[in-house]
Amino acid sequence: MRFIFKTAYLQDIRLFQHRGQVFWYGLLGLALLAAPWWASEYFMSQLHFICIYSIVGFGLMMLVGFTGQISLGHAAFLAVGAYTEALLQAAGVPFVVSIACAAAFSASVGVIVGLPALRLKGIYLAISTLAFNVIIEEIATRWESLTGGSGGKHVSAVSLFGWKLESDSEFYYLCLALTVLCCLACINLLRSPTGRAFVAIRDSEISASCMGVNLAKYKTLSFALSAALTGIGGALYAHKISFISPEQFTLLASIELVTIVIIGGVGFLHGAVLGAAFIIVLPQLISIAKDYLPSAVATTGLQGVVFGLVLIGLILFEPMGLYGRWLKIRTYFELFPFYRRGMFRRQKSYMKSERLR
């Protein structure tokens, strides 16, 4: 068992709470930095995707997990980021500027999408974001002079200050650096007043506003931030795939992004990374498993079925997601042998004041 004695307020603000965390995150960091030496070419490619989807996951987690606003249209922000990057790169804009523009443009689109969030809640907000996804998809298909229509658009490798990042490992370091930066930005925000205002809106809008939280401002801000992160993810995605077309940003892609958050664990930044890793690795595991399964089972629909089952199973048995499961396992060993089954069960509160308006 580990006892943390708190002697200064700074201890609660610091990034790492104790030496154990420094050690394990350090080890993880080293392993990731050394990935080009130990990972196969194939695995490197998966790591690219995990990084990209983690960034998108952070964005969605800020919105869904911390501000409590649902979005079923995040693939549209991915598209906005990807197309902005593709067009700016074609126009010869340097990468540092173009990715910032992708984030900024995506954020401003996010503000527009966030506007209905001031009036809509729950399922209605989901429907309006879903409609937005369809609109963006349609624009990407029809505006052929700009986007190349369904014929798609080619994107070449990133060139950073005149240095072309053509190899897998160079692009990997770029993705990894951006993932770490985005993660740090999210952590910083969550330990400052803005992040707390998000959480307040998630848990009780009425009392958030009584505490002086401007609901309109912070909901819009959350949408903008979420869109900006997704835009960054989209820009990297464009470079990774090197070819973008509207059918990569459909409603199904949006649902896949929401799955990252739910599988990983709603309300935990770790969840975004775990969820991203999960949805990248699972299809690979399924395709490996297909070799050993009878041909009647090993059809193309298998992946959809497994995804659906995993999602339903998690919602039923582990609403806190993969990270929640990990927390339980860790607590079990930390407290051994004093862990009780009900430790993470939350007391139901039946008393809720009448929801005002």
Partner: protein, 255 residues
């Protein structure tokens, strides 16, 4: 200039007149209580004062400024904090985080500073924490500091909500039935705290309450409402013995 003034306040929901022509003044440093039978319009007045409902008539003034027509979050900026009858805490956050949200109106850092977590943000965070720790000390919440609100018993949540309101450093504190759902001991504690809030912190309290023991113990002045209208105003003893109040609670005398 009066500290807090409500003038001819009224609101109707469709054909129902919930509050009609209610006027009262709260002086700086007193505990002012609104009583009345169920459905008298007490909580509605609170929601009007908190700007959650727009009034159909009348005006609300705080330190000479008119509040009516402002966005609800502005109320906190002026130094008015409230608690809710049935507790509206941030369930999935710790007690400490709940209280820190109370510091929201004192924030002074921009989004960019926060994204980078500059030393200025760190310093402000420590200051916020120090202010919150004072409230934790005051309300004896130290042992619940890091627990999630969702797992706390009802009585403690009630105190946490009071603490969250105090963390905003209000000038006027609105308490909506501070003793509802509390056992006699906890109600007793609540009475001590309300007295201390008035005497030690110098915060003016406007509250709605049913428990007459608590009311007569802490209130300087009491206002009785029935059917959305003022029926009596005065000290607790005066109001309790007022014939209109007795009639409102117990019904009229048989003739």
């Amino acid at each position: 200039m009066s500290f807090f003034k409500v003038e001819q306040l009224g609101i109707r929901f469709g054909g129902v007149v919930a509050v009609n022509d209610v006027s009262f003044e709260v002086n700086r440093g007193e505990v002012f209580t609104i009583i009345g039978p169920n459905g008298a319009g007490k909580t509605t007045i609170f929601n009007l004062v908190g700007l959650i409902y727009p009034p159909t008539s009348g005006r609300i003034e705080f330190e000479g400024r008119e509040l009516t027509g402002m966005a609800p979050h502005r109320v906190a900026e002026f130094g008015i904090a409230r608690t809710f009858q049935n507790i509206e805490l941030f369930e999935h956050a710790s007690v400490l985080q709940n209280l820190l949200i109370g510091r929201h109106r004192h924030r002074a850092t921009s989004l960019w500073q926060e994204l980078l977590f500059l030393p200025s943000v760190r310093r402000r965070e420590i200051e916020a924490r120090e202010a919150v720790e004072k409230v934790i000390d005051f309300l004896e919440l130290a042992k619940y500091r890091d627990s999630l609100v969702a797992g706390l018993p009802y009585g403690v949540r009630k105190v946490v909500e009071l603490g969250r309101a105090l963390a905003t450093e209000p000038k006027l504190l609105l308490l909506d039935e501070p003793s509802s759902g509390l056992n006699p001991e906890e109600t007793d504690d609540m009475a001590f705290w309300i007295e201390d809030i008035k005497k030690l912190l110098g915060i003016t309290v406007l509250m709605v309450e049913h428990d007459m023991n608590l009311v007569s113990r802490v209130s300087d002045r009491v206002l009785a409402l029935n059917m959305g209208e003022v029926i009596a105003e005065g000290t607790a003893a005066e109001v309790q013995s007022h014939p209109a109040v007795i009639e409102a609670y117990l019904g009229g005398a048989v003739k």
